[in-house]
């Protein structure tokens, strides 16, 4: 499951998508809208995507995960539109026979999403609005 969606992300769908009898571990990551960014208050965030390419990039990342960690199965969903505090912008789920690989692969996938998915965010707060550019901060 590799999707760019407008509705809230359904975590249970990702978990179901990676479920398999040989998996003993599932690692799930959610990126959520927080109330602060680089010292500024944030009230909501708009996510915009080059949707068809973004979907293809998410799928490519998933296939990469599955070939690099044998037995792993991945699902990645990114949401677009205006998100309130606490809402999830991105979800990555990876199942694997053992837990070390599930964690590593999930971590790798979210780093790849951040680096290469054509998706942008604009933060809105009391001080105005701003398109965000990536920084070195994790």
């Amino acid at each position: 499951m590799f999707r760019v969606v407008e509705a809230p992300i359904a975590v249970s769908e990702l978990l179901a998508a990676v479920s398999r009898p040989g998996a003993g571990a599932v690692a799930l990551f959610l990126g959520t809208v927080r109330d602060e960014s680089a010292g500024r208050r944030v009230e909501r965030i708009l996510y915009e995507a080059h949707a068809p390419m973004a979907r293809a990039v998410l799928e490519r990342i998933g296939r990469e995960i599955e070939s690099r960690w044998p037995g792993a199965r991945a699902a990645i969903v990114h949401r677009v539109g205006t998100l309130a505090l606490g809402e999830a912008s991105v979800a990555v789920a990876v199942s694997s026979p053992h837990r070390a690989e599930a964690f590593e692969a999930c971590r790798h996938a979210i780093e790849r999403v951040k680096a290469d998915a054509p998706i942008w965010k604009k933060e809105y707060g009391p001080d105005g609005e701003e398109w965000v550019e990536p920084t070195a901060r994790t």
């Binding site: 990551f29 990126g31 995507a49 080059h50 068809p52 490519r60 991105v90 951040k114 998915a117």
Partner: protein
Amino acid sequence: MRVRVLFFAAMRERIGRESETVDVPAGATVAHLLTALAHAHPAVRPLLDRSRVALGDEFVPPDARLSEGGEAAVIPPVSGGTP
């Protein structure tokens, strides 16, 4: 030849539209296209300099060739995912 160019996010807002059609010489590359865009929209030049270009679903290098009637997406620094 004519190429359709897609803009997103800050680039889209500053240029004021989601796409435009650009005339480039036959056999032009992505580098040619970026030069043409920088001339047409000098205000976004710094942002263009930090942007990548995608043809279809793939990022391509500056020497990639454009094709007549094709579509090229300008991808400014991405910030999806998470804080």
